[in-house]
C-alpha cells in the first residue's frame, strides 16, 4: 500500500528537518553520502516505522495512511465490496 516515495511526499525534507533528532538526521545523511545518492528507499532504510512513529508528527503519518487508503479505494464515502452486495 505504501511505497517509499509516497511516504516521503508527506514526510518531506522540511518535516524531517524539523522533527528528526540530530543522531537520526546524521544517520540519514551519512548513509546517503556513503552510498553516493539519497533516495526515498535509502531514507526509509534508516527511518524505520518505529522511528517514524517516534519522531514524525502523527498528523503527518495519518495523512500518509489516509492517502494510501484513498489510493486503494478504501475511503469513508466508498462502500466496501461486501456492503455493496448486501
Amino acid at each position: 500500500m505504501f511505497v517509499p516515495s509516497q511516504v516521503l511526499s508527506h514526510v518531506t525534507p522540511e518535516v524531517m528537518a524539523h522533527n528528526l533528532p540530530p543522531e537520526v538526521m546524521s544517520q540519514v545523511l551519512q548513509l546517503s553520502l556513503a552510498a553516493g545518492a539519497m533516495t526515498p528507499e535509502r531514507i526509509l532504510e534508516t527511518l524505520s516505522p518505529d522511528l517514524l512513529a517516534k519522531h514524525i508528527p502523527h498528523a503527518v503519518l495519518w495523512e500518509c495512511v489516509v492517502a494510501a487508503a484513498e489510493r486503494e479505494g478504501l475511503t469513508k464515502g466508498e462502500k466496501s465490496g461486501s456492503e455493496k452486495s448486501a
Binding site: 516521503l8 525534507p13 522540511e14 524531517m16 528537518a17 524539523h18 540530530p22 543522531e23 538526521m25 546524521s26 540519514v28 545523511l29 551519512q30 546517503s32 553520502l33 552510498a35 553516493g36 545518492a37 539519497m38 533516495t39 526515498p40
Partner: protein, 184 residues
Amino acid sequence: MSSRDFLGTVIASGLELEMLQPEDVIKLVTMEVLAHHLPVELKTRLLTAALKSSDMTASLVLDTLGVEGIVEHAPAPLLWQLVAGGAQRALGKEEAATSSAAPKGVSSTLLPAGPRKPNISARVSRIRAGATSRPTASAPLQDDDDSAFDVDTRVGADQPSSDFEVLDEASAVVGDDITAHGKD
C-alpha cells in the same frame, strides 16, 4: 572582521584555488557535525537538494550549504583545523618541489627552526683544517689538494640531520676553501 569572516574568506579562497577540496571540508565538517549544528532551514535545503539530485557528494553538500552556511554554523575549531590542514599540505608540496631542485646555498628559510647542531660546526672545523680522515666513513677518503670537493661526502658520512642544513653551512665553507686553496 571576525574570526569567522576570516575563516570564510580563507576557506572560500582555498576551494577556489583548489588548495582545499570539498572532500577535505566534509572530512572534518561531517554529516554528524552538520546534523547537530545546522539550523532547520539549511537541513531542509540539504535534504531537498540531495533528494532532487542523482548524486550525493561532498560537492553537492558544499554547493547547497555554501561556504558561508558551513562557516557560520560549524564549530570554529573544526574550521581552523581545516585551514591548518590545507596549509600543511601546501607547505609539504612546496618543500618537496624545492628539495628536488635544491641548489647550493639553499635558503635558510627552509631550515627547521632552532639552533644548528654542534656536529655541523665540528665538521666545518675539520674541513677548514683539511682533515683527511672521517670518523664514521664506510670507505676512507683520499685527501687531495682541493678538499672543497670533499664537503658533500664528508658531510654525508656523519649522518646530517638535514641535507639543507649541511648544504647551507657547507656552501659558505666551500666558498672560503676555494678561495684559500686558490692561493696555495
